[in-house]
């Protein structure tokens, strides 16, 4: 006895103006009678506060009341019977009311550490008092409305950066300070979600051998609690672009494919905001590093040099 939702798109991506279509597939050993088949479509921003800049009190409260984006209940079939074997019931649900123009409300799906924006579609088959109702839930993904998208290609906003012992705000190993190093490059600070994050980097000089150069993709989630924003920065993905003491004066490409679901267009909604950063982290060879095998890569250490830049993610056509 099973009920399955099958969406019309295998990637489950829809836009808010589009109807979510699909089939309810039931597979029953014997026919049953029901009191109606209902679809519930729910979209919400779920937030929680923990760690980060949240104080002790706030973190005690933990979960903050979610923001409802949409909640819609549709009856697909009124009460009746479902035959044995496989039955397919097609459905189509409009997400937006006609005439409604609140495209901003339909935030793109995002799964973060503190904030998650999620759209769920649930089917329920009511079977009266004596029987347990059948139901199943499935997530679908919302992407921004095409009409509101920026024209591709988006204007390349490239930042030139340079990393030396003098640009670091945290203490460094003495040999790094005395020997010096200089890594320069450029990286785009505005990037379409479907495109890789591009850039390049040159190790111009480094007295201490380099162990690794990594590009960290960070998300900055801020939640308005009371009168202040509680912000937490966390690592989404780390991409190594240099392994070992690379050749000096050689252009090394920065090429990072943005992970889906874990990224969304930069969102400054008001009650919460989702922003991104890109961080170039140079790890130098040091015996000290072996003492901290599993430290958070974002923690400034004596043998690290880093440069963090804001990254604006956009949905382009």
């Amino acid at each position: 006895m099973s009920v399955v939702l099958k969406l019309s798109r295998s990637n489950r991506i829809y836009r808010s103006s589009e109807p979510v279509e699909g089939k309810i597939v039931t597979n029953l050993p014997s026919s049953i009678s029901h009191q109606g088949i209902r679809l519930t479509v729910n979209g919400a921003v779920n937030m929680q506060v923990r760690g980060g800049t949240a104080g002790v009190i706030e973190s005690l409260y933990g979960v903050i009341k979610p923001i409802c984006i949409m909640n819609k209940n549709v009856e697909v079939r009124s009460s009746g019977k479902l035959g044995s074997g496989t039955t397919e019931i097609p459905f189509s649900v409009l997400l937006k009311q006609q005439g409604e123009n609140s495209s901003e409300r339909f935030y793109e799906t995002f799964h973060g550490a503190n904030i998650s924006i999620q759209y769920l579609i649930t089917v329920g088959i009511m079977r009266g008092y004596m029987h347990k109702s059948l139901s199943t839930t499935m997530e679908f993904i919302i992407e921004s409305e095409k009409v509101n998208l920026l024209e591709a290609p988006i204007s390349p906003e490239v930042v030139v950066f340079y990393i030396t012992q003098d640009t670091q705000k945290h203490p460094l190993l003495p040999e790094l300070l005395s020997g010096g190093f200089r890594v320069t490059g450029k990286i785009s600070t505005q990037c379409a979600l479907t495109e890789p994050l591009n850039g390049e980097l040159i190790v111009e000089a480094s007295a201490v051998p380099i162990r690794s150069i990594d590009i960290h993709l960070l998300r900055v989630e801020s939640i308005l609690t009371g009168e202040k924003y509680i912000t937490e920065t966390s690592l989404i993905q780390s991409t190594q672009i240099a392994d070992g003491d690379v050749c000096r004066a050689m252009t090394i490409p920065i090429y990072v494919i943005l992970p889906r679901l874990l990224t969304c267009p930069t969102n400054l909604a008001g009650p919460f905001s989702i922003e991104f950063q890109v961080s170039i982290v140079i790890t130098f060879q040091s015996d000290l590093s072996k003492l901290y095998p599993k430290s958070d890569p974002r923690t400034p250490r004596l043998w690290l040099a880093m440069e963090t830049l804001p990254l604006r993610l956009v949905r382009a056509k």
């Binding site: 295998s10 990637n11 799964h111 890789p196 051998p209 380099i210 162990r211 150069i213 990594d214 690592l235 989404i236 993905q237 780390s238 991409t239 190594q240 672009i241 240099a242 392994d243 070992g244 003491d245 690379v246 050749c247 000096r248 050689m250 252009t251 090394i252 490409p253 090429y255 990072v256 494919i257 992970p259 889906r260 679901l261 874990l262 590093s289 072996k290 095998p293 599993k294 890569p297």
Partner: protein, 920 residues
């Protein structure tokens, strides 16, 4: 018994076949086949199995562009792919063989996938990203485990199976994760020698993953979820043919791989599924350039170059349309090599001692990449510039010098016509590349050989040679010098640049003097000498070269022998050798060759050949009128080459022909002839084989007779008889003795005796008698030898009985027996007695023959001999019928010999038949 009278002249004209003088020698070749220019002829028709395919492939690709025929393109694509698959497979094999691994591998614990058995991975895909961050930090853990290569390899095979099983169980995430772990193994380059093997094993796994992904996406493009066909994807599909679902899946794979944190596994994984770009783009080559660039992030030289290798390999599957990525590849590899060579930057793990090993490990990757660059016949035009090698000389001084090992492989793969047209540029490149990754002189050598393939223009040759010889003149090492000049020698000779030849020989002699030449140098010297010898038509021209003999003298051993043999071969091929200095030189060479013969292995082919060459040389020597000098030469030879048996025969022949030559001369040098014969007489006894001895005695005897030296002749014939006696001709040792040879020698002796005047002091028929006693006295003599010898004696006696002998010595001073003993009754009487004894013995002897057929034939031979020697009378016919009885009893009645003998017998006995009847 009465001898039959014979008219030899009439018989000859009656029985001999008509003869017509031949215009041409039957063995003389009508036209010289050697005149065909081999080099030119060969080039056009010869299909190089390796190059040919490349050319065909290019042709196919050309067709596509012209005709746009999909069918053709499909064919060419498949052919190219298949070819590259095969080549790659054999390359992998050679890679593993070349670096056969050490027994154990120490692996750091980062390779936990090898040490531990694979765990079950059933985590959801969303947690995968986070989990990868938790991957054990490689440097943090220092404990190193040692396992055997065998274990390592078998573990990898297990992993491959695991990946395959996981995939089949629809657990593709596990497959990918395990594959990534396998790829991570390549991060550990400390295994050095094992790395190529590891590379092959790991890339096998990655290739498998790539194929699985490819097949999956292809299936998604062809069939819908419920198994209905969406489209039949053609072999040569375009991105537009692929349905969005399949594209989505493909894109997901690239995203998944893009999220791999570590660089090296990420690159390997993307390369594994690189050909899947075809589902997304029609021009998937763009990513190649990016991947090459990404590899710059791999600081470890070994990891980096092998990663490049895998890229080049995977790019082949895309059939890329430009070679930009290859150029970058090779340039980047060059930079890596430069770092190793210069040692400016720290490459911590590699000590200077390991650098050679490192370069040898890197070499195959260069070889393959360069090879790929020339697989497709792309425009070569500005290749040098693209490789950062080109430009004119002033520019190239700013460019970093080319790495010699890279240059080596480029030159190796460059088509010969490019090499020959750009020779000067290449020389300059070689000149500027001087590092320890590859010996510079070997690059010069390679260029030389390449230039020989397709000869360039005269003026450019000159310019190239100037450069090469400038460089080479700096070499102190003989070995290097030889290797290079050997490569250019053909060109120098073909263009007749005598000045360079002089330089080369001067150079060799300067470097070779006062030192023992090493084995490898001998090889080069040998090659140089052989080239010189083949070039010069006349050996004397070669000998006239500066230092030729001097350099020859520094050689020793087998290569010396080989060169010597070539010289002798050359010397004896073009007719007689007349120049005394040449003869002297060749004599010395022969001596060296003779000294080099290892007599312990006399059956060795080489020895046989040297002996043959020396004797041929002796035969070809001609001092013209200075015959005394010639004889002295023969004496010297006898002294020098005493240990070669075959040679003595040659010496005797030579001295005999010298004697004949002297006799033919206007004034007869009797004393010279005598000394020649004396020389022969002295030389013959040292020949071990008795039958050869005898033949040579007979030959010398004949010469002596021709010279009118009757007493010498007698002595020589006696010696011949005694050497016959010394032969063990008894039945017991007949296996070793060539009976037919002996018989023919005895017959020869008998025919010679006809011309020899009987010696009254010893008895006129002293020699036939001793021959007779030789075969009759010893019961051990085989019946066949005896019978034939007796037949010969009977024929001899019959001939002696004639009033005129059939032939005489061509010397008026020597008189034949027909003149000396004409009408002497004792003479005839003695002949009769000899012949009757012979006939008697003959008939008896035949019955001793054991074998029936042989007995029959012998009886027929005897019968024929008797009929032709004696007048028919009852006695003779009785003997003959007896012999015929034997023959009939032994042979088939239809035997042709038997029948013809019967015919003759009938004819000859016709007159005396009546008498027969009376007797009966």
């Amino acid at each position: 018994m009465e001898f039959r009278e014979r008219d030899y002249g009439a018989e000859e004209s009656a029985y001999s076949l008509p003869r017509v003088p031949a215009k041409n020698h039957p063995l003389f070749a009508r036209s010289l086949p050697y005149q065909v220019d081999v080099t030119d002829n060969g080039k056009d028709d010869f299909c190089d199995p390796l190059r040919g395919l490349g050319a065909n492939m290019a042709m196919h690709i050309g067709d596509v562009e012209d005709v746009q025929s999909t069918y053709n393109r499909k064919l060419s694509n498949e052919a190219a792919l298949q070819l590259s698959e095969k080549e790659w497979a054999s390359f992998k094999r050679s890679l593993m063989q070349k670096f056969s691994a050490t027994k154990t591998v120490s692996i750091s614990s980062m390779s936990d996938v090898i040490v531990k058995s694979g765990k079950a991975h059933d985590k959801s895909s969303t947690s995968m990203h986070l989990e990868e961050l938790d991957d054990p930090q490689k440097i943090a853990e220092e404990d190193v485990k040692v396992i055997t290569c065998q274990e390592y390899v078998s573990r990898l095979h297990e992993l491959k199976d695991e990946i395959c099983h996981a995939w089949q169980a629809d657990d593709r995430v596990t497959s990918l994760k395990l594959s990534i772990k396998v790829a991570r193994l390549l991060m550990d380059t400390s295994v050095l020698q094992f790395y190529p093997t590891l590379f092959v094993l790991v890339t096998d796994v990655m290739d498998m993953l790539g194929d699985l992904v490819w097949e999956r996406i292809k299936r998604r493009a062809k069939y819908a979820d419920d198994g209905t066909i969406i489209c039949s994807l053609p072999e040569n599909f375009k991105a537009i043919d692929v349905c969005p679902d399949a594209k989505e899946t493909c894109n997901n794979w690239f995203c998944k791989i893009g999220s791999i944190s570590e660089l090296l596994p990420r690159i390997y994984s993307e390369l594994a599924i690189l050909h899947c770009w075809r589902f997304l783009h029609d021009q998937p080559c763009e990513s190649l350039q990016r991947l090459v660039m990404m590899m710059r992030g791999l600081a470890d030289p070994l990891a980096s170059v092998y990663c490049h290798l895998y890229l080049v390999r995977c790019a082949q599957k895309l059939l890329p349309c430009d070679r930009g990525y290859l150029i970058t590849c090779i340039n980047d590899i060059s930079i890596i090599l430069m770092r190793i060579i210069s040692g400016k930057e720290t490459i911590s793990r590699y000590s200077s001692g390991n650098k050679k090993l490192l370069i040898s490990l890197i070499e195959p990757t260069i070889e393959w990449s360069v090879k790929c660059m020339f697989t497709y016949q792309w425009e070569i035009g500005n290749l040098f510039a693209e490789l950062g090698l080109g430009g004119n000389l002033s520019e190239s001084s700013q460019n970093p010098p080319c790495i010699s090992i890279v240059l080596h492989h480029i030159i190796k793969e460059l088509p010969a016509e490019i090499v020959s047209s750009d020779a000067l540029e290449i020389v300059q490149l070689i000149e500027s590349s001087k590092d320890f990754s590859f010996d510079q002189h070997l690059n010069y050598t390679l260029l030389g050989f390449k230039l020989c393939e397709r000869r360039p223009q005269m003026d450019s040759v000159d310019a190239v040679l100037v450069k090469v010889f400038q460089a080479v003149s700096q070499y102190d090492s003989l070995d290097e010098y030889l290797k290079v000049v050997d490569a250019y020698l053909d060109i120098v000779l073909q263009y007749q640049m005598e000045n360079y030849l002089t330089i080369i020989l001067d150079g060799i002699s300067k470097r070779a003097s006062d030192k023992v030449v090493a084995e490898s140098e001998l090889g080069s010297l040998q090659s140089i000498f052989i080239k010189l010898l083949t070039h010069f038509n006349d050996l004397e021209d070669a000998f006239a070269l500066n230092h030729f003999v001097e350099i020859l003298d520094v050689m020793y051993g087998t290569s010396r022998n080989t060169v010597n043999m070539h010289i002798l071969n050359k010397a004896t091929r073009n007719g007689y050798i007349r120049d005394p200095t040449t003869i002297q030189l060749l004599f010395e060479i022969s001596q060296a060759l003779h000294d080099g013969i290892d007599f312990s292995s006399i059956k060795d082919d080489d020895n046989q050949q040297s002996a043959r060459l020396i004797s041929h040389f002796i035969q070809m020597v001609d001092y013209g009128t200075e015959m005394d000098r010639h004889l002295t030469f023969l004496v010297e030879c006898r002294g020098a080459f005493g240990s070669i048996n075959e040679l003595k025969g040659t010496l005797v022949h030579s001295s005999n022909s010298l004697a004949i030559k002297a006799m033919k001369g206007t004034n007869k040098h009797v004393s010279f002839v005598k000394s020649c014969i004396a020389f022969s007489e002295v030389t013959i006894p040292s020949i071990s084989a008795g039958i050869r001895q005898m033949n040579l005695y007979l030959e010398t005897a004949e010469v002596a007779l021709l010279g009118g030296l009757v007493s010498h002749t007698d002595g020589l014939i006696e010696s011949a008889i005694s050497s016959l006696q010394s032969l063990d001709i008894t039945r017991g040792s007949q296996i070793n003795v060539d009976v037919d040879g002996i018989i023919s020698s005895i017959r020869k002796l008998c025919s010679l005796l006809i011309m020899v005047p009987g010696n009254p002091t010893e008895g006129i028929f002293y020699i036939p008698k001793s021959l007779l006693s030789l075969v009759t006295s010893d019961p051990g003599v085989t019946p066949r030898l005896r019978a034939r010898t007796l037949c010969a004696i009977i024929s001899l006696s019959a001939t002696f009985s004639q009033n005129t002998l059939p032939y005489h010595v061509k010397n008026t001073e020597v008189m034949g027996n027909d003149i000396l003993f004409f009408g002497d009754p004792s003479y005839n009487q003695e002949l009769s007695s000899i012949s009757s004894i012979s006939v008697q013995n003959l008939v008896e002897g035949i019955q001793e023959e054991v074998y029936k057929a042989a007995r029959g034939t012998m009886a027929l031979e005897a019968c024929n001999c008797i009929i032709s020697s004696f007048k028919a009378n009852p006695e003779i016919s009785l003997i003959c019928s007896r012999l015929m009885e034997i023959a009939k009893s032994c042979l088939n009645a239809n035997d042709k010999y038997l029948r013809s003998t019967l015919n003759i017998l009938d004819k000859h006995l016709a007159c005396s038949r009546d008498a027969c009847v009376v007797v009966v």
